[in-house]
Amino acid sequence: MMKALFAAIAKLISGANARWVGCVPDVRQRVYFANHTSNLDALVIWATLPPDMRALTRPVAARDYWVKSKLRLYIANEIFNAVLIERKKPTTHDNPLRDMLNALGDRHSLIIFPEGGRQTGSELAPFKGGLFHLAKDRPDVEFVPVLLENLNRVLPKGEILPVPLMGSLSFGVPIKLEAGEDKITFLGRAQNAVKALRKP
């Protein structure tokens, strides 16, 4: 109930319009990886998924941000079922990759932002290695590029009040790690897959 309400509000504020250009909505296990420009990003991807997929899809988020208040922690745990990871100083004990693999399990999907943080420019930052390691450990999972546009105008970094513009999400063709493909090549290819979704 709360989840459906949250999703409806998110869709209303962001005016989000989802375009499934490279794949169709499906409950199979996927990792959605997207560019990151706004606090709304994870919420909006999660909200535009059909309800059955939404129930199985967990956004990966920075623990340092979401544990700051009780409300945030409640939203992260109860609404999004978020996977909170340590992004500042990962240790063997606090290993983000292991947390993400555990969260995937055998039926969940993930939403991740491989740039590592919100960007303010128009260009994508280089992707972090986690995406590569996930792809290496879970060759059975589809990696779906997602391009978010205009959400940084709805709620830019550092602003509290949203402006009601229409954001758009494009879901591209899933990619997989090729045999013998190295980290740099794969991450470059993943980044290009997101960029390629920009409308001509």
């Binding site: 005016g15 105008r153 009040l161 402006v163 009601p164 229409m166 409308k199």
Partner: protein
């Protein structure tokens, strides 16, 4: 604003409903008869448009039925949706964020509040003067100089078209026309009907007889046949509705001509903006029509002119 529906209002509403019924029937017959693929697409779009018209007429009718305030709220929401579509298409920068917040949540509601309390002296100049001066001040204090004039101009233009011009439709309710007190709802109905039916008739004439394109690079579907046929037939219909207005038949014909010509002019202007941004429609809210802005472009351009003509000659 106390607008009681009278017998003439019922005639207007009944006429529109009859027209919709006939259109739905024709659309249904066409869908049975069409065979070619291209024809099927056209008829599907036609029927989607007709269905959307039923919805729009229902919403407009409901707003009218509540008296003045419902119409003000309806057009405020229309402005909000149109402005949202417009600014989404228009590149602004981070430095404009708080200005945009003002535009959506303070200037827009304020304009419609002024319309609701019928403060002509202020609603006529609030956006062209005060918002015009305030917007660059707010953006400049945000400290981003890149493309400053361009960004400011775009925001001001969006406000003028999507808020200021559209607000002239419910502003018709505030006109004090001798011998027409309490009947302004019909004047607004007349205006919207003539402007929209002109769009529809231009479409119908263009689809059936159109071959000479007016400005193919801007509006590929606009033809001279559609233009002349649409304007002439809509003006005739407008003249025939004189009994619902404060005008004589000839005055009503003149007013309708002004509405249809201005409405026609709005199309290519709003199209040119879309095409410059590389899109076909402003949005996808209204099935078959595109976005809200795609449907109201003619109202935007016709409303201020119709309001001021009526105000100058009849009050």
């Amino acid at each position: 604003m106390n607008l009681k529906p009278d017998k003439q209002t019922y005639w207007l509403v009944g006429g529109v409903l009859a027209l919709l019924l006939v259109s739905s029937l024709i659309g249904w017959l066409l869908s049975l008869r069409v065979t070619s693929d291209k024809g099927k697409v056209t008829v599907q779009n036609l029927n989607a448009r007709i269905r959307a018209w039923w919805m729009m007429v229902a919403v407009f009718g409901l707003a009218m039925a509540t008296g003045g305030i419902g119409s003000v709220i309806l057009f405020a929401l229309t402005s909000f949706l149109a402005l949202r579509e417009f600014i989404t298409l228009t590149p602004t920068r981070l430095g404009d964020h708080r200005t945009l917040f003002w535009v959506f949540f303070i200037i827009l509601p304020l304009q419609y509040y002024l319309i609701a309390i019928k403060w002509y002296g202020l609603f006529a100049i609030m956006i062209p003067v005060y918002a015009f001066l305030f917007i660059p001040i707010r953006s400049a204090t945000a400290g981003d100089c890149e493309h400053f004039l361009e960004r400011t101009a775009k925001i001001q233009w969006a406000l003028m078209i999507c808020v200021y011009c559209i607000s002239y439709v419910p502003a018709l309710l505030s006109l004090d026309i001798p011998g027409y007190a309490g009947q302004n709802g019909k004047l607004m109905f007349y205006f919207v009907l003539v402007a929209q039916i002109s769009d529809v008739l231009q479409y119908v004439w263009g689809k059936t007889l159109g071959c000479h394109k007016i400005a193919p690079s801007v509006s590929p579907n606009k033809t001279w046949e559609g233009f002349i046929g649409g304007i002439a037939s809509a003006t005739l219909i407008g003249a025939g509705l004189w009994w619902a207005t404060p005008f004589t038949p000839w005055q009503s014909a003149g007013m309708s001509l002004a509405i249809t010509l201005m409405g026609f002019g709005g199309g290519p202007v709003m199209s040119a903006i879309k095409r410059d941004r590389g899109v076909k429609d402003y949005g996808n809210m209204i099935e078959g029509h595109g976005g809200v802005m795609d449907r109201i472009d003619s109202l935007c351009f016709a409303a201020p002119v119709f309001f001021h003509l009526t105000r100058f000659f009849f009050t």
